[in-house]
Subunit: 235 residues, 2 copies
Amino acid sequence: MNPDKLKIAILGGTGNIGEGMVLRLALQNLMTDGVKNEVIIGSRSRETADEAAKQALLELGNCGFDTSKIIITGNTNLEAAKAAELIILTIRFDHVLPLLDESREALENKILVTPVVPMAKEGNLFIYKPPAEGSAALAIQKKVPESTKVVAAFHNIPAGKLKDIVKCKAVHDAIVCSDDAEAKKLVMELAKNMGCLRPLDGGPLNQASIMESLTPMLINLAKLNGLKDLGMNFS
Amino acid sequence: MNPDKLKIAILGGTGNIGEGMVLRLALQNLMTDGVKNEVIIGSRSRETADEAAKQALLELGNCGFDTSKIIITGNTNLEAAKAAELIILTIRFDHVLPLLDESREALENKILVTPVVPMAKEGNLFIYKPPAEGSAALAIQKKVPESTKVVAAFHNIPAGKLKDIVKCKAVHDAIVCSDDAEAKKLVMELAKNMGCLRPLDGGPLNQASIMESLTPMLINLAKLNGLKDLGMNFS
């Protein structure tokens, strides 16, 4: 892995949370100490991904950033995973496991980041619905090759604030869990340089169930208390 | 229940988190819009509880507060529960269920507040260990009379900041869950007037497992990231 130019695939990168991640990760190329990278948006359709990549570059240009140093491309989820060294799964849990089956070979020796939250609606509120393994993170780890380093992160980042690259100065805490110390460190560095996150070490991967369960809680808290696009801070 | 003078028992009130709760609740008698109350500290030994009550009054007096309007007494957990209208369980989970058995009659028609977190140590870190019912709150609800209104609250309040009634201006979020709307409202009002908490409606009691699981996470985050006495904020 070449830390001077990290290839990052954001599978499901055309979705709500993926969009902000693409912008914030791509912008790190303009920072003195960001991890230099190439962002590949993955989607079910290559055309949709391609279009999202063009839109992201356009938006960064419109904000006044020098896009000549920024690389954002689009591809199918499978091709994006093949090309990348670090893969972020911004995909609904029920679509994740089939996609991992399909792209198993592409995951060998890669870092796989899961912000995936299995949840369901019960009445007006959301509840956490972990699989038998205890969490999406542990179900994912069971599914991927042994050489894949699974990192749980970015579950509780408010999508609206993440996307708002110019105005949003709010800093939220991003808990990162993994059994692989090096992969965890790299993801914490990426998070730090997103400009709106304070990464916190959340311990080993089996702690991810708590982070996953926070997402339905944040949605419910917002709904029940007239709040919006909630993030978390610990102090 | 007379809202002009609410009798509150804090079972296990001589412990770390109980101590701050006693002080903050008793102080509401000096506020224009606080719920006027009488605080009864419960403990396994009446003498220990009595001594803690005297110490609390002394501390409030030393801080310059007019203690003539403040009532804090001590008693056994059982007698405290009998005397109170609202009972707060600041007790370890493994001691809670036997105590509820013993004081079953005293719980009829009362509000029972649980900040109880079932957790265990695994290596250097804590993990959440809910009972078969899914959470301590649901196990407690199953145990008590049907007329008892169970409210889950105060799981994630940093004890040190809660105790520091003079200096601590930090405001943390306190999520409150219950199936009884009126009991939830009263506990949210008590929380608000503690002076360092913003109460948030967390929905029904079956949401309590998430709040309970946050406590080991906060302890782990503090340990892993060199932080201390962590509370939470949602924004």
